[in-house]
Amino acid sequence: MEHTIPEKHYLNEATGWKSWLMTLDHKRIGILYMIMVMFSFFLAGVFALLIRWELLSPDKIFMGPEMYNQAFSLHGIIMIFLFIIPSIPAILGNFVMPLMIGAKDVAFPRLNLASWYIYVIGFCFAVYALFAGGIDTGWTFYTPYSSESTTAVIPILTAAFVLGFSSIFTGLNFIVTIHRLRAPGMTWFQLPLFVWAIYATALIQVLATPVLGITLALLMLERVVGIGIFDPAMGGDPVLFQHFFWFYSHPAVYIMILPGMGIISELIATFSHRRIFGYKFIAFSSLGIAFTGFLVWGHHMFVSGQSDLAAVIFSFLTFFVGIPSGIKILNWIATMYKGSISLDSPMLWALSFLILFSIGGFTGIVLGTLSIDVHLHDTYFVVSHFHYVMVGGTVMAIFGGLHYWWPKIWGRMYNETLARIAVVMIFVGFNVTFFVQFIMGTQGMPRRYATYLPQFQGMHGFSSIGALIMGVGFLLIAIYLIHAIFRGKPAGPNPWKSLTMEWETPSPPTAGNFEGQPVLEHGPYDYDKVIPENSLKPYKTL
């Protein structure tokens, strides 16, 4: 069946740059975020490639140790604060979540737009810092070094501080939206699991980010006035900074992964054409992760000089986080069992997620074990572990989500063959890059060094080749996705034959999302009751 693009939709109902910069439409704000966040991803990716290039040889190729410190710091800071934390909630959460719950917009559209402008201000501070001396503290800003470093610490802290507000506003907006703007008939247990995941994420954003804000503010004051909280020279305690920092930054890890897990739930159900297995377990495990995530920050500090008792307790609690994550993985696999699986490109991303995130998760348990961590702390094993979770988890999920909702966002389909080639490239490239880093880590290769013993050169070289494969893969994705926006074939309202509510709107959706207030007629995963088609069906309205 040939599909056409509807005459009027949110992309053309108003034109001109002003209609974009002043928009209150959650879909357009999602796209504004997409532009900024993906540019940050590109920027941080360039730093990653520079790092891997330098590490081709134990001797200096083009970066000395100072420049190398700057490169890995900027890679980390941009990836975390500008890309991965805002990525899924701000882009896909903004675009899809209100559609999924049958709402016309988020609860506070102006706050939503403000959050984007705040993000842009944070972005500008980060770029300014880049030119005003860079930053060499690593993304963790540990004291006392961060109170002494001569690089542009204050601008980069301001950037992270400002970005925090953007994150808080998004989270606050989403919580209220999910509480108050659900369509009639949509009970909590009729919510798509992506919405549950976004909800759990929003809770962490709201509860953890203010603590980061005050921590960074205190660190700035420590540098300017020497208030004496973190700097031992002024009577302060540097370990206290680590406590403050990880109280936010460990839950922040779940801000990064939870929405990814939400996407995976949607992908697995849609492409297995089967009711999701263990709906409530998946929903509550999101909240479980959000809650437990607040109790484990001390596992970053096993060798920092916290008390032995605290270390043992944190190690024990860390194992608990594994349980809800494990519940999710098993439920996804159970959903696929005897399902009718189609291996379209979004599903390939989801399968990559399952494999890579499992490796990342299991090595997390290894690192959470106190005695092993003392041996592996600050080695490439840690680097590899969190890249398996962050890239193998979140990045796989966001690209799965982008491929899944791309036809909804733009109304047009990308080239599926290229998409499959790309996902294989990323999967292979990723494993080539990072699997050897586990091995190097166990052999004692420490992280954050510009140079290394000659015995590691083979593995470092291998890792760098993987990074190059990934770089080319992402370039390929950018090309065919952007091409699809202009030249792709019209996709139709429901190309994947999914049952969640966003697919009941035309692609691209109209500016007000729905005509009238839609009423929920079937659950998001009722594949045993309803046979979805790629066509527009009139829905019941209030």
């Binding site: 203010p210 005050i214 020497g226 208030i227 909280i229």
Partner: protein
């Protein structure tokens, strides 16, 4: 939910009715207040930790704070919370003039608070009882007395910024009320600002005993 055909001017298009809009605003405001509590929470942690490490220094340093000024300010803020609540009540009853009086009273009391704070601060600055590197006062026994004043200036300072923010918002409410933007059907901004103002008051109620009273 009431089925009304009229569409009030203050109802935004994405809400189905006024009730939904007001409930959303309330929930959003409570979450915002929660983030405020957590923001101050970091500073309360700072206070608690350094107090437990340096109890004597904290005791010696706290004696230099003026209890009477602090107590006056406490009363001033509590009364301003009352006038704020009365402003909401007046608008519920549709008494626009009275609402304006109570809002003006709240702003006045907030300004009194800031003026007293100004005198306290300038005295401390004069003596050199200042945070961190700026500290040059001699006469407080114990290690690192500058940390006490770091905590004092940070916590009361951040609180002071919130009072200033409150003055700005309540002044804006005063203007809006004068223009007749609010009615017994729609007074959400006044109610939300009231919630905020009570939190600002409440934080001071914790700050006052922690710094001025316990030693």
């Amino acid at each position: 939910m009431s089925q009304t055909t009229e569409h009030p001017a203050h109802l935004q298009h994405h809400f189905s009715d006024v009730h939904q809009q007001a409930e959303s605003a309330k929930l959003g405001m409570w979450i915002f207040l929660l983030t405020e509590v957590l923001l101050f929470g970091g500073l309360f942690c700072f206070y608690a930790i350094y107090r437990s490490w340096n109890p004597e220094m904290f005791h010696n340093a706290h004696a230099f704070l003026n209890v009477w000024m602090g107590a006056t300010n406490t009363v001033v803020l509590i009364v301003s919370s009352l006038t704020m609540a009365l402003a909401i009540r007046s608008m519920q009853l549709g008494k626009r003039k009275l609402t304006m009086w109570f809002l003006a009273g709240t702003v006045f009391l907030a300004c009194v608070f800031m003026v007293i704070k100004y005198f306290e601060y300038s005295h401390k600055i004069h003596l050199g009882q200042l945070p961190g590197k700026w500290y040059f006062f001699e006469g407080i026994a114990g290690t690192n007395p500058h940390i006490f004043f770091s905590a004092y200036f940070l916590m009361t300072g951040l609180h002071g910024f919130h009072v200033l923010g409150g003055i700005a918002v309540i002044t804006w409410l005063f203007i809006k009320t004068a223009r007749g933007s609010f009615s017994p059907e729609y007074y959400t901004p006044i109610e939300m600002t009231g919630l905020y103002w009570h939190l600002v008051d409440l934080i001071w109620i914790f700050l006052f005993p922690l710094f001025y009273l316990i030693g």
